[in-house]
């Protein structure tokens, strides 16, 4: 079925089990899709505009942001166009070009790009490397010392990827925050793969800033949307209003997500608040699938046992099959699709990642069976 002459209908959530880690946490709920449909037109949230998106009472965006702050254990929150925009807003607000900023080796590329755009000096905390790729608080301490030695000052900001998008490692954010406090370094936690899926409490962790991705982990579709939450001491510096247009925060250029994506985030929020309570079940589901794949010779790489729905795998057996299969390295994608499973990047056989988030037990049994079946038939 075609939507227009050159646009195909997207049916991968309805007809397949989609395990693409980029997409599982952003899958919408029926009420979210209805909200998106109702607010689909341009500037739809601005019917009752009172001067600023974050102050809107109808739809109740201001109240929603207050609720988000409570949910995340922070003091103030702001809508952004995504997690990367939230990170850049902090960088732009509190650093100057040339300042030292510490990031982790498992960071998303947008952390690096945001730093580049802010013209800061980037210092990277290396991971432990194969097979765990761990990021440790000691790593942050070592790099802080390196920065002090080189520049004579502590870094202006430390950014940690709470859960990385390659291995799904969950870093002890509180321990990193504790190191930051010892060095008086402001701490920004990138929760693109954590908040909205699992409980995140900024106060307990000791984060100064939390960046969130609505379309990645808060079941918000209909466009791009993110959140930036900060603690009280940083409000004036990060949420600074325009001198000329007093209602407009400059770091989001006045108003950020101004349409259905913001509404989607709000519509999904009740379900998101509920689903984080069931995080242990998601981890258990993930571990079950990992166990079944490992029995078939497909190894999980990263911290073990896995603590997240996103996992990275290495497989010699699947790679060897590609050497003789008529579809070469595209066979895995093709065979899985034939079994109703999509989301592994086409062409990958030796290393790949996927996510089990939000799937039923039956669906995850089917995914594990599909992999085992391929190994049994061709391996």
């Amino acid at each position: 079925m075609k939507l227009t002459e050159n646009l195909e209908l997207r049916e991968r959530e309805e007809d397949y089990i989609n395990i693409n880690p980029l997409q599982t946490g952003g899958r919408t709920y029926p009420e979210t899709r209805m909200a998106i449909d109702s607010y689909i037109d341009g500037y739809s949230v601005c019917d009752w505009c009172t001067g600023a998106l974050c102050k809107m009472e109808k739809p109740p965006i201001q109240k929603f942001l207050e609720d988000v702050s409570l949910f995340l254990g922070m003091d103030y929150s702001m809508l952004t166009n995504g997690c990367r925009e939230a990170k850049y807003a902090v960088l732009h607000a509190i650093t100057n070009p040339g300042d030292a900023v510490v990031i982790d080796g498992n960071k998303h590329y947008t952390t690096y790009v945001a730093c580049e755009r802010a013209r800061v000096r980037i210092f990277e905390v290396p991971s432990s490397g194969s097979p765990e790729y761990k990021i440790t608080p000691e790593g942050y301490r070592n790099v802080f010392e390196e920065v002090k030695k080189e520049t004579g000052h502590s870094p202006k900001l430390a950014i940690l990827t709470h859960v990385d998008g390659s291995y799904g490692n969950v870093v002890d954010a509180k321990a990193v925050a504790d190191v930051c406090k010892q060095y008086s370094v402001p701490f920004l936690l990138n929760t693109a793969y954590s908040s909205g899926r699992m409980p995140v409490d900024g106060k307990k962790i000791g984060a100064d800033f939390i960046a969130c991705s609505g379309h990645k982990s808060w079941a918000a579709g209909g466009g791009n949307v993110g959140l930036l939450s900060v603690t009280e001491p940083w409000v004036k510096q990060v949420f600074i209003p325009s001198i000329k247009y007093g209602a407009k925060p400059i770091e989001i250029l006045g108003c950020s997500s101004r349409g259905s994506a913001a509404i989607a985030l709000m519509a999904s929020f009740p379900k998101v608040k509920e689903r984080v309570k069931h995080w242990p079940k998601e981890v258990e589901n993930s571990r079950q699938v990992v166990k079944q794949l490992e029995e078939a010779g497909i190894r999980q790489v990263g911290v073990k046992p896995t603590e997240h729905d996103l996992n990275f795998f290495e497989s010699d057996v699947l790679y060897k099959i590609s050497e003789t299969h008529k579809k070469k390295n595209f066979y895995l994608y093709s065979e899985l699709k034939d079994q109703g499973v999509v989301g592994i990047k086409a062409g990958l056989t030796k290393n790949f990642k996927f996510s089990t988030y939000g799937k039923t037990r039956e669906q995850l049994e089917h995914v594990a069976w599909a992999f085992r079946d391929i190994v049994e038939r061709y391996g």
Binding site: E13, P30, D37
Partner: protein, 57 residues
């Protein structure tokens, strides 16, 4: 809100609930007894909404 617009969105919402059934049961689309019950309810609701829309001239 007019009855017609209300009926239109009621039908959309029921269709979205059915879409969710497809998502939850992919790829086989074999529904459980509970899901079959929801499906029947939603189809009935859609028919009711369509009856309102059929009155539009």
């Amino acid at each position: 809100m007019t009855d017609e617009t209300n009926a239109l969105f009621e039908a959309f919402f029921s269709l979205e609930e059915i879409r969710e059934l497809l998502r939850q049961s992919a790829p086989s689309h074999k529904l459980s007894d509970e899901q079959k019950k929801i499906l029947k309810e939603k189809i009935a609701a859609i028919k009711k909404s369509l009856a309102v829309l059929e009155n539009l001239e």
